[in-house]
Amino acid sequence: MIELKNISKIYESNENNRVTALKDVSINFKEGELILLKGPSGSGKSTMLSLIAALSKPTSGEVIVDTKRISKLADTFAATYRRNNIGFIFQKYNLIPNLSVEDNILLPLIPLNLSEDEAQKHVKSVMEKFHIAHKKEIAVKSLSGGEQQRVAIARANVNKPKIILADEPTANLDKELSLKFIEILRELKSQNKTIIVATHDPLFFGLDFVDREIEMLNGELLV
């Protein structure tokens, strides 16, 4: 389903400041799989997620999702691809702090110009699923870390994506909330979604529903 072919990514702010985030990485992810990308900070996990989500383009190599060359997509098509296929849970959640829970979750649906009933149905459904409906009118800046994460998860699922990408999802959560998140992952996995989680949180290691754990270091896969 997802194929990364000889991917390299170099961040270059100027000639003297080049950071190689990924070095000639090739890997496949199957539909319905739950994969853990493990490794310390700077190992290239987030970059890999970013390339799969078409948030950035590789310096070389190709990202193919369902036969589409994502890495070659023009910006407009990349956005459409993201909207239709990807649910991204960011480490810092990337919510708009002054917007309400409901409005933050609605964001991916706005460009679709759905009818009010349809849009509300989608939003209500994910708010209930991720137990945040009771806070729907509250600005997200007033929520706790765990609640903010539930909003981020709800937003990532509101467009019913096939692929869920989570970048250090428990980095800002305590153990109890992290375990709750793991339960949410289990539920998403049961819906046959392809899930890739970048983490170095030991709570994820050895979980029975995780299909593969991939170790990364200095932009390379450790086999």
């Binding site: 989500a53 950035s56 956005a79 459409t80 909207r83 239709n84 409005d103 849009a119």
Partner: protein
Amino acid sequence: MKSKINFYLIEFAINSLLRQKAKSIFITVVITFLTFLLASVFFITNSIKYELNATLDSLPQITLQDVRGGRIHDIDIKNVEKILAINGVSDASSRVWGYYYFEMLDVYFTVVGIEEFETALTPALASLSEKFDFNSIAMFVGAGVKKKMSERYYKEYFNFIKPDGSMKKVNIAGVFESDLELEANDMIVMSKQNVREIFAMSEERATDISVHVSNPKEIATVAQKIKEQFPSFKVITKDDLKLSYENMFNYKSGVFLALFVVAIFTFFIIIYDKLSGVSSEEKREVGILKAVGWRVEDVLKEKFYEAGIISVFSYLLGIALALAFVYLLQAPLLREIFIGYSDLKVSFRLPFVMDLQTLLLVFFLTIPIYIAATIIPSWRVASLETDEVIR
């Protein structure tokens, strides 16, 4: 059902403006002020130009004054016959008028003399002469004069002080009305005989002579002939007057321009500030929107709505304020810039003149500039790699 207009996007744009309350209020104030200033100037300009043109249109084609030693003297009315003998002149008549200084209120009134079958003056005065009782010692006054006189308790009559110090009591017969506020407002109309008495002008003399030429194309030629025949006469054509009024008016506009440049300068500083960069918060927000699947065009559309809502609202507010300021309040302070001589004359009301052209001009001088200044930096940010923006 899908609607073509994306109301969610409009709602998001409104929310976005409300979220940045302080910034939105500041921008609203600046654009409203600029629109208000621009529209006020155009409204005042249009009103005065309309009034001036209408006033000038009612003036004689050629006016003759007797200038000796650089000073204007009363003109000998015997010259009227000689003028009538010039080829091309269809009519010529003497006019008796002058400025009367009303010391108590420090204003000048224009005192105009008329006689039966008056043709030398404006149509309004000509029609007044038909109903005027020339045997009475009475006068018709403009609305402004009536008001000023009433302030000093002259409600039924007024005592004119003649040059020899004696007084002449003239009854107020009524209020003189004209379509032209400038013409009628500061005017007093009475018989020529009474005007002569007040200004101590002899029967053989007049203030000036008005000349009518049958063929308007011959005005310049007739003016030249008069000049040759009467070297001491100052020959003023209607076009000369129009030009001198316009020059004075343009000078006044120039003074305003200096003020206006300051306002524009401020506006452009804000625009520059917006163009030179988007705040980190705004940048992050654009990144988030793109990360959740918004295309560059979706982001730009939202920014367009934001800028459109704030600038159109400010524009309408500015226009409404300008209308109230100019036509209800009569543009205090600003109108003095354009009508510098108002201290000497009784003030008049600015006539309501409104055209689509002015509204469009103000619109295009403000709104597109602001919208562009909002969209261009957002486009720059939205065109960056999303990952780079939200990292």
